[in-house]
């Protein structure tokens, strides 16, 4: 009875694994994904992500760390997903930094123009 139970459990587990494997598109080790996401995080950090989009930046860093951990745990699917999320977060952080800078430049120019217009009006 005890043996039967053990055997049936083992079979059931195998079926679960097989089904799970069949329904998901498991990928082979995602070292490349992790490298790409790490590069994205580093770029975003260098591009002012931490300054202009701190929430996205820390999210990216956390997910990158989790991805590395999942990789170490050989949970490749999770590692790949987390790496993709970390990359998306990092890229968004950088885009926010870029757009903030561009808007600051536009604002500065607008102010310049306002001052110039005032000056011109004063002289006239």
């Amino acid at each position: 009875m005890n043996l039967t139970l053990k055997t049936s459990l083992t079979i059931a587990g195998g079926v679960v694994i097989a089904l799970a494997a069949g329904c998901s598109s498991m990928k082979t080790p995602t070292t490349v994904d992790l490298a790409v996401s790490q590069a994205a995080v580093d770029n975003a950090a260098a591009g002012g992500g931490a300054q202009f989009a701190p929430a996205d930046m820390s999210s990216a860093r956390d997910k990158q760390a989790l991805a590395i951990k999942a990789m170490a745990d050989k949970d490749y699917q999770l590692a790949s997903d987390l790496a993709a999320q970390a990359q998306a977060d990092a890229q968004l952080a950088q885009a926010k930094a870029n757009s903030t800078k561009a808007q600051a430049a536009a604002d500065a120019l607008r102010e310049d123009i306002r001052v110039l217009r005032d000056e011109l009006a004063r002289v006239r």
Partner: protein, 317 residues
């Protein structure tokens, strides 16, 4: 006991089989991602500025949809949905960035134009100032020239006045000199100042007895008088002839007239204009002494020359 243990295993089976059914799996994150995607697709700004980013997000969306259709793990579907959402957010950020950059380009041009306007304006102001300064300088020069001219005119006027003064002084001097000279010459002619003016008496000795001709000495006296008259052209003379009471009255009258005429002739000959010389004969009238002795009679035989004042008028007796 055994049936109790088998139930969870069978449940797991059912779940896994259900997951593989043909109805796509849906998660709230996936729904959100689809909504975000639809709104990004509807945005003209996104279409204009972030086409590539939208396409990338669209690819991610397709991946998430595919995962949902093939019933992959919720975790994976959610992960793909999350990535899609982030990519759509990135698309919006890029759109904002490009709009801002376009504004920078446009504003940069506008600012450059305005700076150019400003410089032009400054240049115009500077030019106007320069012209005003030049105009001021010209006005200043003109006024300086005017005051120079005034000064020159004033100097000229001063010089003229000085010259006039000098001339006047000279004239005064001349007049004084002439007066002094006249006095000297009249003294030489033994002139006497009377109520009628200066009277010069040419005595009997200057005429021949009973003659109307001047002696040489009488001639000199006449010439001296003529010179005085020439030097004092404003003065005229009245020549008056007198005799003593010897002889008839008519004869004496005639003689007095002839003697006066002789003096007149002598003056005319010496260059004195005839209209300046008036002439009267008084005969034996107006004696200066009694006709009792030879000496007294001689005093009465005479010619008196009355010199007019400066107005040229002589006063007859």
């Amino acid at each position: 006991m055994t049936t109790f243990q088998r139930t969870p295993i069978m449940l797991a089976f059912a779940l896994l089989l259900g997951a593989c059914s043909s109805v796509p799996t849906t998660t709230s994150l996936l729904t959100q991602a689809r909504a975000d995607y639809a709104s990004a697709q509807a945005s003209p700004d996104v279409a204009r500025y972030a086409q590539l980013e939208l396409k990338n997000a669209g690819d991610a969306m397709a991946q998430a949809d595919a995962a949902a259709n093939s019933h992959e793990s919720l975790e994976h579907i959610n992960s793909l949905a999350y990535v899609t959402k982030q990519k759509l957010a990135l698309t919006q950020e890029v759109t904002k960035q490009r709009i801002a950059e376009a504004e920078v380009t446009q504003s940069g041009k506008q600012r450059d134009q305005m700076r150019l306007d400003q410089r032009t304006q400054e240049a115009a102001v500077a030019k106007a100032n320069a012209q005003a300064a030049q105009a001021n300088a010209q006005v200043a020069t003109a006024s300086a020239q005017a005051s120079n001219a005034n000064a020159a005119q004033a100097q000229l006027a001063a010089q003229t006045a000085q010259a006039n003064a000098a001339q006047a002084q000279l004239k005064t001097q001349e007049a004084q000199n002439r007066a002094a000279l006249l006095e000297v010459e009249l003294k030489a002619l033994a002139a006497k100042k009377t109520a009628r003016g200066v009277v010069i008496t040419l005595g009997d000795v200057l005429f021949g007895t009973d003659l109307a001709r001047l002696t040489a000495e009488g001639m000199r006296s006449a010439q001296r008088l003529a010179k005085v008259l020439q030097e004092n052209p404003e003065r005229n003379v009245l020549v008056e002839g007198f005799t003593d009471s010897t002889g008839s009255e008519a004869h004496n009258q005639q003689l007095s007239e002839r003697r006066a005429n002789a003096v007149r002739t002598a003056l005319l000959e010496s260059g004195v204009a005839g209209e300046r010389i008036a002439m009267r004969g008084y005969g034996e009238s107006f004696p200066v002494a009694a006709n009792d002795t030879q000496g007294n009679r001689q005093l009465n035989r005479r010619v008196e020359i009355v010199l007019s004042d400066e107005s040229g008028k002589t006063i007859a007796r």
